[in-house]
């Protein structure tokens, strides 16, 4: 079952909301549909499901409605139309008391500007949800301490938030949400107020914590690189609508429309694309028991100079070159065993990022072999393929800076009209 299901969700500010929803329903852009109406549409017909344990990123520029959307997921804003189901419970029709109970038990939130209470210590802030839930002080302290330990801030427990740096404050914000012990975490531009290096660090920390805790996280951001780095799946929002939902790779390689394509044009693809997404089918794969004659025929037919050899269970063994095949023929051997070499080929796993392929490609005499988790050969990457993938990644730039993955889209592209 999905942790969270959103169906046909609308949020209209202003009056005559029903009329606005009716006009928007057929998919017209909001500026056109709402012309002359005293209403603005923040979220239009949002539909998605979030699976338990995944990081679901909602990405869009400011004004795209993503902050409004996330606030409807815990009822801070009441939707104009549509349904939000958290763990099977319909949230839109809950009475205030039941809604508060749901927030306490199911869903907590991390805020862009941390939203810590300046008059409470770090520990009191971290234990806020438990205080609301009415837990006894000792237990509150213990659980808040546990949460602070997870984010590495125990020695700051008795300080005021003011004593902490921005990154540390947001870790308190994260600890506060973790201490609540809810399955679902909403993160509203949680790292956007931090400078790039700190942001990178706290992203790593979140991924580490996530690997351990397996929360369901809905993460809002305007930073595509952050979205790609964190998101198991990404929803791209524009002008109130979700225009595409998919994995980072799907969005990069198959953008739903020009807007998404333009959006992703600046991203450092070498970090997102994996070996699996650029690899090609190996031309010649032979079993180690095949004879040299078969190998020679294969080489002649494909006009290549190397054969990839697999063993029992299709396990990759190495390569045999033209010269070796000829030698085997001269020596009259019945099969290729003994001529297979691993010296001229490098192997990588399917999920290796393209950025990490350069070294292997450079050092591998033959196209790099891509193996799956059981060491079976699933593809090869010739150097030219890697270069072509890069060229597609950076159409206008002669050189791709590998360290640009913190460049913010907003800063470089500006607002779309």
């Amino acid at each position: 079952m999905s942790a969270l299901i959103v169906q046909s969700l609308y949020k209209i500010f202003g009056s005559r909301a029903d009329e606005a929803v009716r006009r928007l329903a057929d998919g017209k852009p909001r500026a056109e549909a709402l012309a002359g109406l005293p209403a603005t549409a923040a979220v239009i017909d949002a539909n998605f499901e979030v699976r338990p344990g995944e990081i679901f990123v909602v990405m869009g520029l400011s004004g795209s409605g993503k902050s409004t959307l996330i606030r409807m997921l815990n009822g801070l804003l009441h939707p104009t139309r549509g349904s939000v189901r958290v763990d099977g419970v319909e949230l839109t029709t809950l009475k205030p008391a039941a809604l508060r109970k749901l927030r306490r038990e199911k869903i907590s939130m991390v805020f862009q500007h941390f939203a810590l209470m300046p008059h409470r210590t770090v520990l009191e802030n971290a234990g806020y949800a438990l205080e609301v839930a009415g837990l006894p002080k000792a237990e509150r302290r213990e659980r808040a301490m546990d949460a602070l330990r997870m984010v590495g801030l125990t020695e700051w427990a008795d300080n005021l938030p003011h004593d902490l740096s921005g990154g540390m404050r947001q870790r308190v914000g994260l600890a506060r949400a973790l201490a609540a012990g809810t399955e679902i975490l909403l993160m509203d531009e949680a790292f956007s107020a931090l400078d790039p290096l700190i942001r990178r660090e706290i992203q790593d920390q979140l991924l580490e914590l996530q690997a351990e805790l397996g929360k369901t996280i809905i993460f809002i951001t305007h930073d595509l690189n952050e979205a790609m780095r964190l998101g198991d799946r990404i929803a791209v929002m524009r002008d109130g609508r979700i225009v595409q939902i998919g994995t980072a790779e799907e969005i990069l390689t198959d953008p739903a429309n020009d807007y998404v394509a333009q959006f992703v044009a600046d991203v450092d693809r070498t970090r997102i694309l994996t070996a699996a997404s650029v690899m090609e089918k190996p031309q010649q794969v032979l079993d180690v028991n095949a004879g040299p004659r078969v190998a020679a025929k294969a080489l002649r037919e494909s006009q290549t100079s190397v054969v990839y050899v697999t063993g029992p269970m299709k396990k990759f063994l190495g390569t045999v070159t033209e010269d070796e095949v000829l030698r085997a023929l001269r020596e009259g051997r019945p099969h290729l065993d003994g001529y297979v070499s691993t010296e001229r080929v490098r192997t990588v796993t399917a999920d290796t990022s393209v950025a990490d392929l350069f070294g292997d490609c450079a050092e591998s005499q033959h196209p790099v072999a891509v193996l799956d988790e059981r060491d079976r050969l699933i593809g090869v990457i010739p150097r030219i393929t890697l270069l072509t993938a890069l060229a597609a990644a950076a159409p206008d730039e002669p050189a791709q800076d590998q360290d640009q993955d913190q460049v913010e889209l907003v800063g470089t592209k500006g607002e779309p009209a």
Binding site: R71, N74, L76, A97, R100, K101, L102, R103, R104, E105, S108, M109, F111, Q112, H113, A115, L116, M117, P118, H119, Y128, A129, V132, A133, L160, P161, H162, R176, A180, L186
Partner: protein, 297 residues
């Protein structure tokens, strides 16, 4: 009414607002008499003992207590200033009047705050209440201070009680306004954070909004006390006693000397009360935390 009214204006209807007001006050005096008597007794019961206490103990004791308070809240320099200033007042012939003014100010502003702060909370939380309260507060603040004295005399006669009650009405608005402002200024995200963890409204108000609004509310407290002090002097016109009496008498007799003495006593009292209440706000942890946050930003 002007006799030289232009014919162009002759169609304007006469609005006997004054007559209506008189009728309303007459009606209130006649039918709400017991209520006003009760209020008068209650106010009297608050002012009298405090007045007796402040005028009863030796001046030195009062000076030392206030200076000590100043030391605790602001440091030795302010304590010294308080001692010198109040010592000067004690050296003039109007110490008793000064203390009776202080008693009236304390009672009037305490009562004003007891009403103003809850009212401020109400108008901050409720848009409709705010829409109703705004013009009423405007009226209370801009109505010339003397005008309050007239119905006060009707309802309560001459003396301390009408003075204190007129002062209460006059000094209340900034208490309401600054409470409302302080609550509205609390960082929305922090309020949302409290709500997002399922805190009920009363908890958000008491443990998040009010502590964070406290510095602004304390400014309101300070303003209420200052306005009360200025009004209490005007209330001398209805025989409220204290420094107001001294100043009114000096005015009617054109006595520069006693007028200045009374005036200086008011000024010194005002400065001491202002600085004391101003720094009282800083003693709350939330105020300290916010000041630190502002310095850092």
């Amino acid at each position: 009414m002007s006799l030289t009214q232009s014919p162009l204006d002759s169609w304007l209807p006469r609005v006997p607002l004054g007559a209506w007001t008189e009728a309303a006050v007459d009606w209130a005096t006649a039918s709400l008499g017991p209520f006003f008597d009760g209020v008068a007794t209650a106010v009297e019961a608050l002012v009298r003992p405090l007045n007796d206490l402040l005028t009863g103990v030796p001046a030195v004791v009062v000076v030392l207590v206030l200076a000590g308070l100043g030391w605790w809240l602001r440091g030795w320099k302010f304590a010294l200033g308080t001692a010198v200033g109040l010592g000067l007042v004690a050296g003039m012939p109007y110490w008793e009047e000064t203390m009776s003014t202080l008693a009236q100010v304390l009672v009037a502003s305490t009562l004003a705050l007891l009403m103003a702060i809850p009212l401020g909370v109400l108008v901050a939380e409720n848009k409709r209440a705010s829409a109703v309260a705004r013009p009423v507060l405007d009226l209370m603040q801009t109505m010339p201070a003397f005008v309050y004295l007239i119905p006060a005399i009707f309802f309560f006669g001459i003396g301390t009680v009408p003075g204190v009650l007129a002062t209460l009405v006059f000094s209340m608005p900034p208490g309401v306004r600054l409470t409302e402002l302080g609550l509205r200024q609390v960082d929305k995200e922090i309020v949302q954070a409290a709500e997002s963890f399922g805190a009920p409204p009363w908890m958000v108000l008491l443990r998040t909004k009010l502590p964070l609004a406290l510095p602004t509310i304390m400014t309101g407290v300070n303003q209420v006390i200052m306005l009360a002090l200025s009004m209490v002097v005007i209330a001398g016109m209805v025989g409220a006693g204290g420094l107001g009496d001294v100043i009114m008498f000096a005015l009617s007799q054109v006595e520069v000397g006693s007028g200045f003495e009374g005036g200086i006593a008011v000024v010194i009292l005002a400065v001491v009360l202002d600085r004391l209440t101003d720094s009282a706000g800083d003693r709350f942890p939330s105020a300290r935390a916010q000041r630190l946050a502002r310095q850092a930003a």
